[in-house]
């Protein structure tokens, strides 16, 4: 293999053939043109080109494959039983906003309840603090003046 055609010789042709395949339309235009010229004069290039085409055709013919009958059924039969998940948990995990809502809901409820509590709570709280703070003083005064 030693023919020369432009930049294309037999070695270059084999390199292109292995890299781009036997479909000359998939080659860069200039390389394909030079390859066509080489194929006209080089029996070796032609022999390799035909061999590459035969390989490509054979491989292309393998595309139409049919899976064995029953394989699909066997796969379906091997599917593990789904673990029962409580409906509430499924509802919660199905969409992103749902767990966020579930987490935020107690906060909202707590806030609303807090806002709604009567002021009487404040008065009771002040009275309790006063009792605790001044209890000792009253006790001492009582002891000093029996």
């Amino acid at each position: 293999m030693n023919g020369e055609h432009g930049d294309m010789n037999d070695d270059r042709f084999l390199w292109c053939l292995d890299h781009w395949g036997s479909d000359l339309a998939a080659w860069p235009e200039a390389e394909a043109r030079a390859a066509r010229l080489l194929l006209e004069v080089s029996p070796d290039a032609r022999r390799h080109f035909e061999a590459a085409q035969e390989v490509a055709n054979w491989l292309g013919g393998l595309r139409a494959h049919t899976a064995p009958p029953g394989l699909r059924t066997r796969i379906l039969a091997r599917l593990p039983e789904p673990t029962p998940v409580p409906a509430v948990l499924r509802w919660l995990t199905a969409r992103m906003w749902r767990p966020v809502l579930a987490a935020a809901l107690p906060l909202v409820v707590g806030f609303v309840v807090g806002i709604g509590l009567p002021d009487r709570m404040d008065a009771l709280f002040v009275e309790e603090i006063s009792t605790l703070a001044f209890n000792d003083i009253w006790q001492e005064l009582d002891d000093a003046n029996p």
């Binding site: 061999a51 590459a52 390989v55 054979w58 491989l59 064995p68």
Partner: protein, 169 residues
Amino acid sequence: MQRVRDRDQVAFGLLLERHLPAIHGYLVRMTGSPADADELAQETFLRLWTRAASYRPGAAKLTTWLHRIAHNLCVDERRKVRPEVLDEPALIADQAPGPDRHHEARETAARLTRAIGELPVAQRAALLLAQVQGLSNGEIAEILNLSVRAVESLQARARGTLRERMTET
């Protein structure tokens, strides 16, 4: 796929119908054994079922993801045992030549089947994924965890080996 993630067996059945032939074909050609291919195909789709939640549609096409699972299972299986005796009828049966060219076609198929079986696994996979499975080199690179250039190089070497085998007298 969303329905499969929600554990919908009907959707899974449809998905099987669409992808099983291609995946099984790839596994037959990679292992050379229809029995091994059956087993690995089952395992591939069971993994799809159990790991459906980890599938990210934006990251890879489902075909690519499935081929990747199948290929990895194939490589793992090959590490356990090394069955390099290809079952020729399994591959040759896929070809349906006319009666006049029957003998010649069988001979070519047998020769190519042997040659493909002798290719290193990465070369075989790179070639089959492109020329039989019809995947792009970008997808093949993802499946084999290689660069596109490495995939092209593997394919060129594989094509060269097969071509030389065909020109041997």
